[in-house]
């Protein structure tokens, strides 16, 4: 051990350096966000509570019951029942999302050919019972209305992902 090292050890130099750094940080601006009082803004495309888009023209949902979202869902939490088909248009009878099983991968939003489904930027939706998280069609539309009233507009970059040739997207998404 050299003299220099000995002095360093005796004077607790490395500990003092650490303490100096702590003091510097103590005097700098805090990075903590005091959550319930202030909220950090979520970025566009955040995957939060589910909603079904209410079509401006018809006032109903856009879903065409193509079953793609139910097929692609990795946790299989989407239940769809429809009537019709075979030449005529399919009529949606039941559309349910079990939000407690959802893993928020966003595959359903991405695969939907008519942009009927979104994961909104709303993330505070704790509840008291499991039933509250079985989103049926009316609840999903209501989620959309709530979100629309709160945000006043919506742009989802995953409806038409940047950098992908629009020709490769389904017709409803171009």
């Amino acid at each position: 051990m050299t003299i220099r090292e000995l002095i360093k050890r005796a004077l607790f130099i490395e500990i003092l350096q650490g303490l100096a750094l702590t003091l510097r940080t103590f005097l700098s601006r805090p990075v903590t966000v005091q959550y319930p009082k202030e909220k950090r803004p979520v970025s566009s495309g955040f995957r939060g509570r589910h909603a079904m888009v209410r079509d401006g023209l018809t006032g109903k949902e856009r879903c065409v019951a193509c079953m793609k979202c139910a097929m692609v869902c990795p946790s299989q939490c989407i239940y769809i029942k429809y009537s019709g088909g075979e030449g005529g248009p399919r009529v949606l009878e039941k559309y349910e999302i079990e939000a407690l099983r959802c893993i928020y991968c966003g595959y359903c939003v991405e695969v939907c050919p008519v942009n009927a489904l979104v994961l909104t930027e709303h993330y505070e939706y704790a509840g008291h019972s499991r039933e509250e998280f079985l989103f049926d069609r009316d609840r999903l539309l209501k989620n959309w209305d709530d979100f629309w009233a709160q945000k006043g507009g919506y742009f989802n970059k995953f409806w038409r992902p940047t950098g992908i040739d629009p020709k490769r997207l389904p017709v409803g998404k171009r």
Binding site: R9, E14, I15, Q17, G18, L21, T22, T25, V31, V42, S43, S44, G45, F46, R47, K68, M71, V72, C73, P74, S75, I103, Y104, C105, G106, Y107, E110, V111, L119, K157, F158, P161, T162, G163, I164, D165, K167, R168, P170, V171, R174
Partner: protein, 400 residues
């Protein structure tokens, strides 16, 4: 009153249960310790408390739908799990990924490595007793997660890459964020080192603890920084390059003594190398497509993926499907990537349908957990915590 002397003194080995809900075992790891006083004589790790059957679940999902499951393996470096899985399937289907997608993936993989190593450093230091490092590391980690959120809308379970490319192009805001991060981050690494690198408590807790020689580490199957701390130069990014790593210049930090301190040094240097890799990727980022032409659709049929004939017209009038399915080639394939923890391997057996017949995961945490008894035998109970920290296990990946 007589006091028992010498050989008459009654001593007994004590069996102690550490975990599964112990805050320092990084998840639900249960260790059964046989201790003599405070010295660990034997240690049996019990794993499986977080078993979710990912391998079995993936046999019932089409190849693209398996990917969100891989997020949940090593949930603090989910991007690299996604990339590893996508690379395995791409190799199986012989899909050539566009250069831009490769570079984007490399940037994101390194950002994930930084965030994972930051969490490792934070918790490892916290376990040993350095609270301040924990707070500082989470400050920077939060920034990286914020970048992920801006890019893809999720912070941890990203599901960003796609088989054959990535989901969406990177934005200007994201690029600016990454640039400002790699500008500031080397200063932050020096901050962490100021706090603990020469700190005498840190040195006493880490030097000479959990020593394993390079040869023995190889025999235990250790990989990643845990192996490199023992002086073995093995890195999947160098030995079997994937994505853009073969076009990028970076060093693989190697330790010497194979103790907890050397592994700590290795990971700290890896943080610096990650910054270097990101810098080079941003400088050489090519333009172009981000998803390969032959990439399977997200709603790929489990039987195979549909072949479209003709084109979608603007009005959707002349859509023609053939009833044939272009199936995935039959065969078996092992493909590995360098995850922050070690070599993450995917072994896929394909029977020609659109879902894996068998998907076997080589999770580094599982292999590393088996080395815990070897590393902590003969040390104190408090050093078991240091050993668990140094091999950097995540139980989500270990139990799968």
């Amino acid at each position: 009153m007589e006091i028992a002397q010498g050989n008459d003194l009654y001593t007994e080995e004590l069996t102690l249960n550490m975990g599964p809900q112990h805050p320092a075992t990084h998840g639900v790891l249960r260790l059964v310790l046989r201790v003599d006083g405070e010295v660990v004589k034997d240690c049996i790790p019990h794993v499986g408390y977080l078993h979710r059957g990912v391998e079995k679940l993936s046999e019932f999902r089409s190849y693209p739908s398996v990917m969100p499951l891989t997020d949940r393996l090593d949930y603090i470096s989910s991007m690299i799990n996604n990339i590893g899985y996508c690379i395995a399937v791409e190799r199986l289907m012989s899909i050539e990924v566009p250069m831009r997608a490769k570079y984007i993936r490399t940037v994101l993989a390194e950002l994930t490595r930084i965030s994972s190593h930051l969490l490792w450093l934070a918790t490892h230091a916290l376990d040993i007793g350095a609270m301040t490092v924990f707070l500082y590391c989470f400050r920077e980690r939060e920034y990286v997660l914020g970048l992920f959120e801006e890019l893809i809308g999720a912070r941890l379970t990203v599901s960003y890459p796609r088989i054959g490319g990535v989901r969406c192009d990177i934005t200007e805001g994201f690029l600016e964020g990454v640039k400002s991060f790699i500008r500031d981050f080397p200063r932050h690494i020096r901050e962490y080192e100021t706090l603990i690198d020469q700190n005498r408590i840190w040195l006493q807790r880490t030097k000479g603890i959990g020593v394993i020689s390079g040869e023995e580490a190889l025999r235990w199957g250790l990989t990643g920084p845990t192996l490199r701390g023992s002086g073995v130069n093995y890195d999947v990014r160098k030995k079997a390059p994937y994505d853009a790593y073969d076009e990028i210049d970076f060093d693989v930090p190697i330790g010497k003594n194979g103790d907890v301190y050397d592994r700590y040094r290795c990971r700290m240097e890896e943080l610096r190398q990650s910054v270097r890799i990101i810098e080079q990727c941003l400088d050489n980022m090519p333009q172009g497509d981000i998803l390969a032409e032959e990439a399977p659709e997200l709603d790929m049929n489990p039987k195979g993926h549909r072949v479209l004939e003709g084109e979608f017209s603007r009005w959707g009038a002349s859509i023609a499907f053939t009833n044939e399915y272009a199936t995935v080639p039959k065969g078996e394939l092992y493909s590995a990537v360098e995850a922050p923890k070690g070599e993450l391997g995917f072994y896929i057996v394909s029977d020609g349908t659109g879902r894996p017949y068998r998907l076997r995961l080589r999770a580094p945490s599982f292999v590393h957990a088996s080395a815990i008894p070897r590393l902590c035998k003969g040390h104190m109970i408090a050093d078991v915590i240091a050993v668990i920290g140094t091999i950097d296990i995540v139980m989500g990946e270990c139990d799968r």
